[in-house]
């Protein structure tokens, strides 16, 4: 098990490294280097950067050196000092901007992950047990609709309904009276309330797929002989259902969560942009539109790393939960 954990961590480090290279090239993609962009930007604002300032920046980001040195300059800054570079749009270090917006992103992504999971679990079990019932068809149809409606359309429709019928403006994570308030229980509750709808919207896309997988897996498990065997020893139907087939069907479910994380993060970016939530989505979008590349690249890197970490965690949970996987990884079987 330790071996497996180490191996899994090793692979994820490799993946993160590859992601960082991809991000670096995205940073490099726009024409002109970062300092010249910054200079142009400053001139527009009627300021002028001193030669010394420029020299410092060129030095810091190794701009006169080949790409691998620039990559190293960027990466070593991140690793040793948590310095993600400089955002010329915000005129602040990228790190500050990221730290301001990331927590809400995590909260939102976590919330929608949780919703995805709960909804898919409940409906997945229901549809598998009541296969070909009206309820099954209803939820399956609903799932397909969730799969087919773009996230942002859902967000807009929701905003429209909220405005047209309830006169509410949706957007932001806090109601107006709490935006500037200090943290308090009431503020947290308000945050959660405002978070619920975006989280639900993001969850729709991933949920449909998960329901489908749960339904398929559980349907396969339900006809397994061990279920009949448990029935034959006199176990109650509902105990038996949760104890055996649902437990076995959970494995693919857990591993799918790893792959659902990218889709949740993707959904977050779009939905937050539409609902103008103070999360990474709109900031990333703005950075990309304005070619504020250090900020964009850093966001991308962090989102990628988060995904990888999520996948690792889901894999480790899987190994912990399933004796078969555990055994496979401990090397006892082929």
């Amino acid at each position: 098990m330790i071996q497996y954990t180490l191996r899994r961590l090793g692979w994820s480090l490799l993946t993160i490294w590859l992601i960082s290279i991809v991000c670096f090239f995205i940073i490099q993609a726009p024409p002109g280097d970062f300092v010249s962009v910054l200079m142009a930007q400053a001139e527009e604002d009627g300021r002028r950067l001193s030669a010394a300032q420029i020299e410092v920046l060129r030095e810091r980001y190794a701009l006169d050196q080949p790409w691998y040195a620039q990559y190293w300059a960027w990466m070593s800054g991140i690793i040793t000092q948590g310095d993600f570079g400089y955002s010329f749009r915000w005129n602040r270090p990228a790190t500050e901007v990221i730290m301001e917006y990331l927590p809400f992103t995590l909260l939102l992504a976590g919330g929608s992950m949780f919703l995805t999971w709960i909804i898919a679990f409940a409906i997945g079990i229901y549809t598998a047990v009541k296969r070909y019932s009206i309820g099954d068809y209803f939820f399956t149809f609903l799932g397909f609709i969730g799969l087919s409606v773009p996230n942002f359309v859902l967000a807009l429709v929701f905003m429209y309904i909220a405005f047209a019928h309830f006169g509410m403006t949706v957007g932001g994570l806090f109601s107006p009276e709490y935006v500037e308030a200090d943290w308090s229980v009431a503020r947290v509750m308000d945050l959660l309330q405002n978070l619920a709808i975006p989280a639900l919207i993001i969850a729709t896309a991933g949920t449909a797929g998960l329901i489908r997988i749960t339904r398929a897996n559980l349907s396969d498990e339900l006809v397994q002989p061990y279920v009949v065997a448990a029935r034959a020893r006199g176990q109650k139907e509902n105990v038996l259902l949760m104890r055996y087939p649902v437990r076995a069907a959970m494995n693919p479910f857990i591993s799918t969560i790893g792959y659902a994380i990218p889709s949740v993060i993707s959904g977050e970016v779009i939905v937050s942009s539409v609902l103008s939530l103070p999360t990474t989505g709109p900031v990333l979008l703005g950075a990309l539109r304005n070619q504020d590349m250090y900020l964009a690249g850093s966001f991308l890197l962090i989102l990628g790393v988060l995904t990888v970490v999520g996948t690792v965690i889901s894999d480790l949970i899987l190994a912990w939960a399933d004796p078969r996987v555990r055994r496979q990884h401990s090397g006892a079987a082929q």
Binding site: Q3, P225, Y226, A230, R233, G234, K236, A248, R327, A333
Partner: protein, 654 residues
């Protein structure tokens, strides 16, 4: 169809009231296209303390009958008529057919009154829970025990079903145990509620023959100790002869005959039962092979036959196939699995060589190596298969190392018949295309030629344009045979070619193989786990154990007088489909089970299960060598046992 009523036996006293009385039971499966009647109005009664065997081929409805009794029919199956009356200890009778499948009463019946064990122990235990947990669950349900007490009872139950080190095993997951141990655990679960009736649904079908013998012995012992009745469902008449007091024969949803075991075998009343009995080969009861090619064997065993005739068609020397299993960080820990370990083998012209052994002994890998489906790791395969048309194919070439492109001629003369009649025919090709495939190399294929092939295997010309899905298992196997003989081969390699078929179909296919051998002078390498079939068909038999060849001998000699302890064990474990002979036999207790092939013991691979094992067996691996008779003359048979000459091993008597 008439049911032959049981003739009253001359037993003293009144007939005891039946424990389970099924009358007029009908089970139906409504599907989209039609209504399938699985059980068609059967009557069945099981008395206390009897072992009642329900025999039938696949699809006869025997399992559905058992499942109906416990309300375990898979949807959309349902009982549409009849009663299943179960007699409680108090004398009160319950109609199980009327109970709610999920109701409290039925849950008490399941496990508390009637225990059940299943065909596939591997899949009948939840892979996510330890076996201790699953036994303890049954204990808590039916004995009302607390958690720790239930666990203790579970360990105790494991001891009762003879699982060594039960405290440790209780914590094991099912996939960490062998098939036999899993079935023992299943039995422990079924017995947890101290049921008065045990339903055993093909409990040994998925097991090896030595394990089967152990499980059957265990069931018999428990049945005697507990005064329990057993409804034993099986397709295997050998098992019936071994276990049954009373037998019901089922066919297409109906019970055609019911008799006490001895009279059933002695005087079957229904033609179907007679057919089944005839189709089932019984050990040491006349062989097909004897008639056709005994002359060859005589020459061979005396060693004086005309050299040309006995010169082997295919000669295998030191064949080894090793698989490497990787594990650990970056796959650095490697273990080697010697699936086939230095095997020597010869196939003579016109003979049938039987290759037997339990699952995992390497017989299938050996077959794959012979045809180069797998590339051997070491050893050589030489042959003299070239015919007039195939002069480009150099006889004597080493097949083991030849490049793939040069194997075409060899693969035309040595052909394979597969085990799975469903998986071995491409579902997207017509029979015409399937049969034409091996002939394509020689230009366009005439339809007449394919029709001729079909007729050779007993199929009709109009079958040529059909797709495989339109055929039954036996017919598909015939197509597979037609494909194999299409290239006019000298050797057919049949890897468990009849194992997936029902008894009646099996005997037809075996007859077909026999006819083809007579008319075309084919040699067969017939690989099977079924000793009775091999005896029926083979001239010579080779026995494999853990990748090694442990004994080869002419069939008659091997079955009558084995020269390797493993062969003796194997023979002793095969149930003879004749209750008189089967019950009179002396049995050999075999201990343990087939070890993990990656952890083969040093020295003789069989030594840790061998009742004759000595010190030398652990030190020195015995070679497969010629066995000498009392005067020191060669006997024409070989054994890989240090004590082949000294031991007096038990064969099967006629």
């Amino acid at each position: 169809m008439t049911v032959v009523e049981e003739r009253t036996m001359t037993t003293a006293g009144p007939e005891p009231a039946p424990l389970l009385q099924v009358s007029g039971l009908r089970v139906e499966f409504p599907t989209d296209e039609r209504l399938v009647t699985a059980v068609d109005g059967i009557d069945l009664s099981i008395r206390p303390n009897e072992v009642h065997c329900l025999v039938g081929e696949s699809g006869s409805g025997k399992s559905q009958t058992a499942r109906a009794a416990l309300g375990l029919l898979d949807p959309p199956g349902r009982i549409t008529d009849g009663q299943i009356r179960y007699r409680l200890e108090s004398g009160q009778e319950l109609d199980l057919a009327q109970l709610k499948a999920r109701g409290k009463q039925m849950r008490h019946i399941r496990g508390g009154e009637i225990g059940m064990i299943f065909q596939e122990p591997a899949r009948s235990l939840s892979p996510m829970h330890t076996i201790g947990f699953q036994i303890a669950e049954a204990m808590r349900l039916h004995r009302g025990l607390s958690k720790p007490a239930a666990w203790e009872a579970a360990v105790e139950a494991l001891k009762e079903v003879r699982i060594p080190r039960p405290e440790l095993r209780a914590k094991a997951y099912p996939f960490e145990l062998s098939g036999g141990m899993r079935q023992r655990a299943m039995i422990a679960i079924a017995l947890a509620g101290q049921p008065r009736l045990l339903i055993a649904d093909e409990p040994t079908t998925a097991l090896d023959v030595t394990t089967q013998a152990q499980i059957l012995r265990l069931l018999r012992r428990i049945q005697a100790e507990r005064d329990m009745a057993i409804l034993f469902i099986t397709h295997d008449l050998g098992v019936v002869a071994d276990m049954a007091d009373e037998v019901s024969v089922m066919r297409r949803g109906e019970i055609v005959e019911r008799q006490p075991v001895h009279s059933l075998f002695a005087a079957p009343q229904h033609e179907y039962t007679r057919m089944l009995l005839e189709a089932t080969p019984k050990l040491r009861e006349g062989r097909r092979a004897e008639a056709s090619s005994s002359a060859l064997i005589d020459q061979d065993s005396q060693g004086h036959g005309p050299a040309e005739k006995t010169k082997p068609l295919v000669e295998v020397k030191g064949l080894t196939k090793t698989f490497t299993l990787k594990s650990g960080v970056l796959g650095r820990r490697r273990r080697h699995l010697h699936a086939v370990d230095g095997v020597d083998l010869e196939i003579l012209p016109g003979e049938t060589l039987g290759l037997v052994g339990e699952s995992g002994c390497g017989k299938s890998t050996l077959a794959k190596c012979l045809l180069r489906v797998e590339k051997p790791s070491a050893g050589s395969i030489t042959h003299r298969l070239g015919n007039e048309q195939n002069q480009q194919d150099r006889a004597g070439q080493d097949v083991a190392t030849a490049p793939e492109a040069e194997l075409r001629g060899y693969r035309q003369r040595m052909r394979m018949v597969f085990q799975d009649p469903f998986g071995s025919l491409n579902p997207r090709m017509t029979v015409h295309d399937i049969l034409a495939e091996p002939l394509r190399g020689d230009g366009p294929v005439a339809r007449e030629r394919l029709v001729e092939l079909l007729e050779l295997v007993g199929l009709e010309p109009e079958h040529l344009d059909r797709y495989p899905h339109a055929f039954s298992g036996g017919q598909r196997q015939r197509i597979g045979i037609a494909r194999a003989i299409a290239t006019d081969p000298a050797v057919l390699l049949a890897d468990e070619a009849v194992s997936a078929l029902d008894v009646s179909v099996r005997s037809q296919i075996l007859d077909l193989l026999g006819e083809l051998q007579d008319s075309r002078g084919l040699s067969y390498l017939f690989i099977s786990h079924d000793m009775s079939t091999v005896e029926h068909l083979a001239d010579r038999v080779a026995v494999m154990y853990l990748g090694r060849m442990v004994e080869t001998a002419p069939t008659e000699a091997l079955f009558a007088d084995p020269k390797h302890p493993y062969t003796e064990t194997l023979l002793s474990a095969v149930p003879i489909a004749d209750p008189v002979r089967q019950r009179a036999r002396e049995r050999i207790e075999i201990s343990g089970e087939l070890p993990d092939p990656t952890e083969k013991p040093e020295g003789c691979p069989f030594r840790n299960r061998c009742r004759f094992a000595q010190e030398i067996c652990a030190l020195e691996a015995p070679e497969l060598r010629e066995v000498q008779d009392a005067e020191g003359n060669p006997t024409g048979r070989r054994s890989a046992c240090h004590f082949a000459e000294e031991l007096n091993l038990m064969g099967v008597q006629r």
